[in-house]
Every structure is written in structure tokens, then in C-alpha cells.
């Protein structure tokens, strides 16, 4: 029941945050306490626990636990950073809604239900994020509903089409399903040239919320759809022809266009946003590959993406506060004034691009090599690596002489501790040292994905494990035998785990549901609970 407790704590935390709106300090406390509780509950989450819900179930996995633990910790650090710098106060409620939705979506054994939960989460997070905008809302709010509903409709129709009794395994049917779900993924992850709806959302929200809107939410959508394809399409190995080629081309185009855009942009916020879109393109690449190992690699990439994006946004917030803006040309000498932030940026970029030999790099290579072959895969990797030039440009600006307009340095202000009595003194000390505190928080945000990519948390094993959201329910009303592609032998839900993981029965789980895979350090399966009949 730890999973239910997690969802309840995150959900009620977000609701409580709204209800204490008249006293901002209490809001901050409620948000931070709820996020800290989420970290603890995510740590306690057992792997393999099953909660029956009618004929479906909520099932915990190592991947879910790692996602929730790292996500809760990063959200807590990001909230602390934003509060320290006096930036957006909506990070905590948005993150709590996101965590509750993620916990439900990634544990549900029904792909369509999981997709709908992602849509609900996206809508609510979008509402919370955009409600922070000053002035009268305008047409930019249209995307709050239009984008997630378009994604949901395309995804649901694709899943439906793949489930037609008797038609579900014919090549043309699988092609249509693959194309529809792929279109949902293209829109939802902002693949070029269909990136404008997502980019507008990113532009409209406050900077501290960027990792949620351009990182966690699209990555969550991609994981759910990837796992559906990993279970529904990969075992059949259908001929997906031109649609597959088109999706691969879009992913490759996004990788290249994002690198070019990062080089051309003058605003650091835009550079960070395009880095996020580039990472999401690897998820599309994983989907288009229709291969189990690519799906596994893409899951690892997508788990890390929001974490390094949050670290980059942390760096961006510190630099904006120090320099009064995010124009690259106005950041002269920032490395000299903010060495800790420079270290944080270096680490975040290293994880984003991938240190050779690390789990992040290997996952990336697995995705590109399987999807595009060794030659084009190397090209795709080089496109990602080429984006380092955008960060080198930022470093170059930072090593130049310091601009006269620069504000407070990262160095702690000791004098502030000596003035004023009691609480006022503490407040003064905090206010005077907000830059160094924020820099340390940004560094902590960067270390989190680095630790995962270097092997802490057994990222590779967790990503290779089963995902309950991949469970599909091809219960046909009037089944008709189909001779075209290898037919599925059992009428029960098709839940073969991704490549390399033999299906083993899970106690209490509906027939055919994926079995949990234990990784080193994981706790033993928890008992089965039941909701409803």
C-alpha cells in the first residue's frame, strides 16, 4: 500500500498547498514537507507489489521506484532552489500533481488507462503552471487542453486499432496503429517540425517549471507509449515500412535541428529548452526502432532526461538572478563569479551528452545503433555530441572579463551573519547568501543524474525490467483467426516483458501480466492488495 500512500500524499499535498493560499510561508512549508514525504515513501516503495483494481492492477517495479525517488528528490531540490531565489512559487504543487500522476500511470496494468492518466496529469500541471502568469490570460492557454487531448485521441485510436479482434495482427492494422501512436508521440514530445505546441507551452510557463513541462511530462508520455509498443508491436515484428522511416527521419531531424537551434539561440533559456527537445527525440527514436533493447535504452534515457534538464534549469535560474537576464552575451565572466554553478553546468552537460562508458551513454548508443544502424547511429550520436559547442560557447562567455552589470557573486556573505538579532538575522543571512545556497542546490541537482548514470540505483537493470503500463487488453468481441503475422497463442492480456526478461508468474496479478524483475538491492515482492471486486 506504499504506492497508494505515495499517491495520496502527493495529491493531498498539492490540494493542501492550494487551500492555505492566504499565507505564502505556510504554502512553502506544506509543499516542501509533502515533497520530502514523497522522497521517503518512494524510498520505501517495494518492488513487485500488486494492488488489484477490478480486472486490472497497480504494480510497482524497480523502474517506477527509481523514477519516483529521483523525481521526488529533484523536485524537492528544484523547489528549494526556486524558493531561495524568490522565483516561481508553483513548482511544489505542480511537482506534486506530477508525482501523483506518474505513480498511477507507471504502475497501471492498462496502457490506455495509463495514457489517460498522463493526459490528466499534463492538463493539471499545465493549469497549475500557467496560473502563475501575471496579467490577463490570453490565447496561449489554448494549448492547455488542445495539445494533451490531441495526443490522447491519437494514442487511444492507435491502441484501439491494434486491439481489433481478428484484425489486430494484420500488417495494415499494425501499421495504422503504429502510425497513430507515433503521431501522438511526435506531438507530445515536440519533434521538429511539430514542436511549436510544446515549445509554446514551455515559453508560457515560468522558468523553474520548464523541467516539468518539457522534461517529466513528455518523458512520462513517451515511456507509457514506448512500453505499449514494446509489448504490442515488438513481439510481432511487423513490417512498418514508410511510417517507421518517417518517424526515424523526424527523430533524426529533431536531433540535428535542436543542435543548430542551440547554437543559434541567444537566450540561455531557449538553449536549455532545445536541449530537452533533443533528449526527447531519443524517445521517439526508441519507439520507431520497434526493438526490445532500444525500448530498454530509451527508458533509461527518458528517466535521466528530466533530471539533467532540472539541473540545467537550476544553473539558468542562478545565472539569471546573478546577471539579471539570460542573454548569452550578457553573461560575460559568469564562470569567474560563479564557479560552483560552472561545476554544476559541466556535470549536467556531461550527463546530457553522455560520458562514454556510463549507463546514460550506453543507453543512448543502444537506442541510436538499433534504430538507425551503426553508421547513421554514429551520425545521431555525433549530432547530440555536437550540441556541446553551445555549452562551450556559454563557457567561453563565462571565462571572459566580468561584465560591469553583474550583481551578487556566488561567494558567501559573512558580514550578513553579524548584523541584526534572532530571526531577522537568520532571514538576513539567508537573503544575503541566496546565490551561494542556490548554486549548491544546482550542484546537488546535477549530481543526482550523474550518480544514476554512473550506476547508483542500478539504472540499466531497472530500465530493462517490465513496465505494468505496457499491459494491453486485446479482448476481442468477435475473434477471427488471422494468418498473416505470428498469432498470439493465448487470449489473455498480452504482457510479454521486453527482450531479455522471461515471463514469470506474479502472485495475485491478472493472467499474463508482467512479472517484476528483481535488481541487486531490491526488496522482496510485497503482498497483493485488492480494491473493488
Amino acid at each position: 500500500m506504499t504506492l497508494v500512500a505515495f499517491i495520496v500524499v502527493a495529491g493531498t499535498g498539492a490540494a493542501a498547498w492550494w487551500m492555505v493560499g492566504r499565507w505564502p510561508p505556510l504554502r512553502t512549508i506544506v509543499g516542501l514537507v509533502a515533497l520530502a514525504a514523497c522522497v521517503v515513501l518512494a524510498r520505501l516503495l517495494p518492488s513487485g507489489a500488486v494492488i488489484l483494481f477490478g480486472d486490472d492492477a497497480l504494480q510497482t517495479t524497480n523502474f517506477l521506484r527509481l523514477w519516483l525517488l529521483s523525481g521526488s528528490a529533484a523536485a524537492l531540490l528544484l523547489t528549494l532552489l526556486a524558493e531561495t531565489l524568490g522565483r516561481s512559487t508553483r513548482v511544489a504543487p505542480a511537482a506534486l500533481v506530477l508525482l501523483a500522476g506518474t505513480a498511477a500511470a507507471l504502475s497501471l496494468t492498462d496502457a490506455a488507462g495509463a495514457l489517460l492518466l498522463v493526459v490528466a496529469t499534463t492538463t493539471l500541471v499545465g493549469m497549475v503552471a500557467l496560473s502563475d502568469r501575471p496579467g490577463r490570460p490570453g490565447p496561449e492557454l489554448l494549448g492547455v487542453l488542445r495539445l494533451p487531448i490531441a495526443v490522447a485521441v491519437l494514442g487511444l485510436l492507435g491502441i484501439a486499432w491494434a486491439s481489433v479482434g481478428g484484425l489486430g495482427e494484420q500488417p495494415t492494422t499494425m501499421l495504422a496503429a503504429f502510425a497513430l501512436v507515433g503521431a501522438a508521440l511526435v506531438l507530445g514530445t515536440g519533434a521538429v517540425p511539430f514542436h511549436l505546441p510544446l515549445a509554446r507551452q514551455g515559453e508560457a510557463v515560468a522558468r523553474p517549471l520548464l523541467p516539468l513541462v518539457l522534461g517529466w511530462l513528455p518523458a512520462l508520455l513517451a515511456v507509457v507509449l514506448l512500453e505499449w509498443s514494446g509489448v504490442r508491436l515488438v513481439p510481432l515484428d511487423p513490417d512498418l515500412g514508410l511510417v517507421r522511416a518517417a518517424l526515424l527521419a523526424l527523430a533524426l531531424l529533431t536531433l540535428g535541428a535542436a543542435t543548430v537551434a542551440m547554437l543559434l539561440q541567444e537566450d540561455l533559456g531557449h538553449v536549455v529548452a532545445y536541449a530537452g527537445l533533443q533528449g526527447l527525440a531519443l524517445g521517439l527514436l526508441g519507439y520507431a526502432s520497434v526493438d526490445g533493447s532500444a525500448v530498454t535504452g530509451a527508458r533509461a534515457v527518458l528517466l535521466l532526461l528530466p533530471l539533467w534538464l532540472a539541473a540545467l534549469v537550476g544553473v539558468l535560474l542562478v545565472l539569471e538572478t546573478m546577471g539579471g537576464g539570460s542573454d548569452l552575451k550578457a553573461l560575460s565572466g559568469w564562470v569567474r563569479r560563479a564557479p560552483v554553478t560552472a561545476v554544476a553546468l559541466t556535470i549536467a552537460v556531461a550527463v546530457a551528452i553522455g560520458l562514454p562508458g556510463s549507463a546514460a551513454f550506453e543507453a543512448r548508443r543502444a537506442v541510436t545503433d538499433v534504430a538507425l544502424g551503426s553508421t547513421f547511429g554514429t551520425v545521431a550520436l555525433l549530432l547530440v555530441v555536437a550540441s556541446v559547442t553551445a555549452w562551450l560557447r556559454l563557457a567561453w562567455e563565462g571565462l571572459r572579463p566580468t561584465g560591469a552589470e553583474w550583481g551578487a557573486a556566488e561567494r558567501p556573505n559573512v558580514e550578513a551573519a553579524r548584523s541584526g538579532p534572532g530571526l531577522a538575522r537568520a532571514r538576513g543571512l539567508l537573503a544575503a547568501n541566496r546565490i551561494p545556497i542556490a548554486a549548491v542546490l544546482a550542484l546537488a541537482l546535477a549530481i543526482l543524474p550523474l550518480a544514476l548514470s554512473l550506476g547508483f540505483g542500478h539504472l540499466e537493470a531497472a530500465a530493462a525490467g517490465p513496465n505494468p503500463a505496457a499491459s494491453v487488453r486485446p479482448v476481442a468481441p468477435t475473434p477471427t483467426p488471422s494468418p498473416t503475422i505470428t498469432p498470439q497463442s493465448t487470449p489473455s492480456p498480452t504482457t510479454t516483458p521486453p527482450t531479455g526478461f522471461p515471463p514469470t508468474p506474479t502472485p495475485g496479478l491478472p493472467s499474463g501480466s508482467p512479472a517484476p524483475t528483481q535488481t541487486p538491492g531490491a526488496s522482496s515482492p510485497a503482498p497483493t492488495s485488492s480494491i473493488g471486486d
Partner: protein, 206 residues
């Protein structure tokens, strides 16, 4: 064809048509709520009790949220780009295609009431979502589109499980909440609903 799914599909389609034709926000809300509440019963066989219950709670909550938001606004809505009747004709055409689908396809798709209602709600919902200029119509369109797509899924993929019904209920309530928020926060100085720039009347073209 069983009577209950047929009646439910008829109510859902009528609700979608009313939501599109209405220029009064209360009628739009009523049509949307009727469609949401009737849609689960268009499936044959009916969803499990747990799923059905969760779904009805979600639909009821969505209707309440929309109704609450419209109470704070002026009731009149502007017409849709084709005046409403054109859009309603598309909805009815989609419903007719759904009803006839079983007869014209070589592969049996199962009972057609859900497919007809699903197609109609999907077309009507996407129309409102694309051309709606206020939070209420956008929300109504989003809810109808989601419900329509899920009906198509239930029709093609078999009886939906509790997981899908719960996901749909949560999504319905969340979308209705966002629509209510959009409606209230974007009210104009005379409490009129307006979010996007008004489309031209497409009937004037040519």
C-alpha cells in the same frame, strides 16, 4: 441490437449535437453532461460495476465543474464557424457511419451503438476543440473527444477494464477542472467568455 446501448448511444449523440448547436452556455453544459453520463451505457456488454461507478462519478464531477464555471459568466456564446448546423451535420454523419460500419465491413466489429456514439462524440469534440473560442466550448470539446475515443477503444478492443475506466474518469475530471478554470480566468469585462480571437464565419467565404 440491445435496447440499452442503443438508447444510451442516442442520448450521447443528441448531447453532442446540443453542445454544438447551443449558443447558451447552460445548454452546452447540459448537452456535454448528458453525453458523458450516457456514453458508458452505450458499450455492450456494460463495463464492470467498479469501472462503471468510477466513470459515472468522473462524469458527474465534470458536469458539476462546468456548470459551476458557467454560473459566473454571461450565458451567451458566439456561433461556431459553420454556424453550428454544419458541425452538427458532421456529427450525425459520423454517427450514421458508425451504425452502418458493421454492415459494410467484412470483419465483424461487434455491436455498433458504441462505435456510432464514439465516432459522433469524437467528431463533435474535435470540432469544438479546434474552433471553440472560449474555455467552455474548448472543455466541452475536450471531454467529448476523450469520451468518444474511449468508446471507440471499448468497441474495437472489447469490454474496457477498471483501469481504463478509472483513467478516463480521472482525465474527465481533470479536463473539466482545467476547462472551468479557463472559463473563469478568461472572462471579459462584461463577464463574456472569450479566449481566442474570433474566427471568421466560414459560410461567408466565396
Amino acid at each position: 441490437m440491445p435496447v440499452v446501448p442503443l438508447l444510451a448511444a442516442t442520448v450521447a449523440i443528441a448531447g453532442a449535437v446540443i453542445a454544438i448547436l447551443a449558443t447558451d452556455s447552460r445548454l452546452t453544459t447540459a448537452g456535454t453532461a448528458a453525453a458523458l453520463l450516457a456514453a458508458p451505457f452505450a458499450a455492450d456488454p456494460l463495463p464492470q460495476q467498479l469501472g462503471l461507478g468510477v466513470r459515472l462519478v468522473g462524469a458527474g464531477l465534470a458536469g458539476y465543474l462546468l456548470w459551476t464555471s458557467t454560473r459566473q459568466a454571461a450565458p451567451l456564446l458566439g456561433p461556431l464557424p459553420l454556424g453550428g448546423r454544419g458541425e452538427a451535420a458532421f456529427v450525425l454523419a459520423a454517427a450514421a457511419i458508425g451504425f452502418l460500419a458493421d454492415a459494410v465491413t467484412s470483419e465483424a466489429l461487434g455491436p455498433t451503438a458504441a462505435l456510432a456514439a464514439g465516432g459522433a462524440l469524437l467528431v463533435g469534440g474535435l470540432d469544438l476543440l479546434a474552433f471553440g473560442e472560449d474555455g467552455l466550448r474548448l472543455g466541452s470539446g475536450a471531454l467529448l473527444a476523450l469520451t468518444g475515443a474511449s468508446l471507440v477503444l471499448a468497441e474495437l478492443g472489447g469490454t474496457p477494464g477498471a483501469g481504463l475506466e478509472a483513467g478516463l474518469a480521472v482525465a474527465t475530471a481533470a479536463v473539466a477542472g482545467a476547462a472551468a478554470w479557463l472559463t473563469v480566468t478568461t472572462l471579459g469585462p462584461r463577464r463574456e467568455m472569450r479566449l481566442a480571437a474570433r474566427h471568421g464565419d466560414l459560410r461567408d467565404i466565396g
